[in-house]
């Protein structure tokens, strides 16, 4: 059981969702985050003040999966998020100690397996 964290470009978030859906990965959390991963700054101008925006908007996916689903999930995130330019994001995989489904009290692998799957 692993927690897969994918941090991707906001404009690719829908492509990632579609790729995950095709890979039959269900049970996803998404949040908007800001960060910096070495990409070029966005230069914007407001009333004569030119600014370089050092942090970029990103979308962070958090997906708890059973071990057989780790590779398909990583592949799907890469497929959806990749443009080839610096700033496409990162994927982190960490071990997951416990999981509990609130409604039923089911734990661990049963808890991260979606209903009906």
């Amino acid at each position: 059981m692993k927690l897969v964290i994918g941090i991707v470009r906001p404009e690719k978030a829908n492509d990632v969702l579609e790729a995950l859906y095709r890979a039959e990965v269900r049970g996803i959390s998404m949040s908007k985050v800001q960060g910096h991963g070495g990409e070029l700054d966005k230069v914007e101008t407001y009333r004569g003040s030119t600014v370089a925006v050092e942090v970029s908007d990103k979308v962070r996916f958090e997906i708890a999966v059973t071990d057989p689903f780790v590779e398909p999930t990583i592949a799907a995130i890469r497929e959806g998020a990749r443009t080839g330019e610096v700033g496409d994001g990162k994927i982190f995989v960490t071990p997951l100690e416990r999981a509990v489904r609130i409604r039923t009290g089911e734990t661990d692998e049963t808890a991260v397996t979606p209903v009906g799957a």
């Binding site: 404009e11 030119t50 600014v51």
Partner: protein, 435 residues
Amino acid sequence: MIAQAATEIDTGDTAWMLTSTALVLFMTIGLGLFYAGLVRSKNTLNTYMMCVASIAVATITWALVGYSLAFDGTGDLIGGLGHFALQDVGFEPREGLTIPHLVFFVFQATFCIITIALISGAVVERMRFGPFLVFAALWTIIVYSVLAHWGFGGGWLFERGTLDFAGGIAVEMGSGFSALAAALAVGARKDYGRLGLLPHNTVYVLLGGGILWFGWFGFNGGSGFGTNEASVLAFANTLLCPAAAVATWFALDAIRGRRVTAVGAATAIIVGCVLITPAGGFVSPGWALALGALGALPCYAVIVYRPRTGVDETLDVLAAHGVAGFTGILAIGFVAQASWNGVSDGLFYGNAAQLGDQALAALATPVYAFVATYVLLRVIGLVTDLRGVDRDEAVGMDFIHHGEEAYPTGEGAILVSPEDGGEPPTPVAQPARGA
């Protein structure tokens, strides 16, 4: 259009027309807000800017040639160049009116401005800003001036006796059917038909719709060119007709989706205002209510049907303006009453010929607007790309075309001073960048 016999300047008429002009200009700002709310947040500024740019571009083209082509002389298809660059447009009233010629010019300019701004709704979220400016400049001359001449300025429809109080021909059908052509020429957005592309701020949509309604009292109420009975009738009808359209929309929303929607209400305000635009000074207040209630039906049908087609006419200019303008122009042919307007009766009051004249306008205008706009955009498209690459569309027009965001967080923004030669300082956290 009601022309009075007097040629002396009337101060009351002039005061109201100055006010009306400012009201109509404010409509374009309201339209920008309405459109901005309907697009995704990454395209907010670009969408609004297309309306702001319309004010600048159309004012210049209108002053230079557009006004002259629309309002100089009685040529069948197009006016002359006698008022080129505002020649002979001064304090003396235009023939048959009681307001200075300059006031008439600037009032008409605000109509030209909002019409091209309306068309932007068909191409938002993808058309490049530069080509839009070129399109706006040429469209106001090639399409708007011609239609304004037909309906208002002494062209063939005007001479036949086709009635169009405030712009069902040039503004509403002109924008609506041009918008359809523009959507086809520019093509659908990248994700159209694949993802739900939703309005990002419904409060903007409602506020924009409200500003449009407010401004429309000048648009219709000023189209009698004074404080005469026609203006008063149109002013009253501008409250009645949209109110009835909103009520109908509520009912249709409730029947179709069991809920009454806010975006629907804002849309219905505009549909109602458009329905009464051509008919405002010609139909009784009772018929204005009926027109709002019944005329909303075809517009609603087109709005429901359009997304099921492959045509990404993004903000439904065709339904809200083209179809509503068409309906309003035809309605005059049925329910115009000489006892209210002093000009002509419609079919219901014994004058079937009026319906024929109205139908002619309702057929000729869409054909000209559609064909001319489609050809114009195709020609511009030969010279420059009408839209950017897919990535631009994904990032959003605001950053790509304007270098600004509608909702910047301000976090991580480092000031770049000119002394640095435009190079931002390297952040401490990123020493390896570029290595």
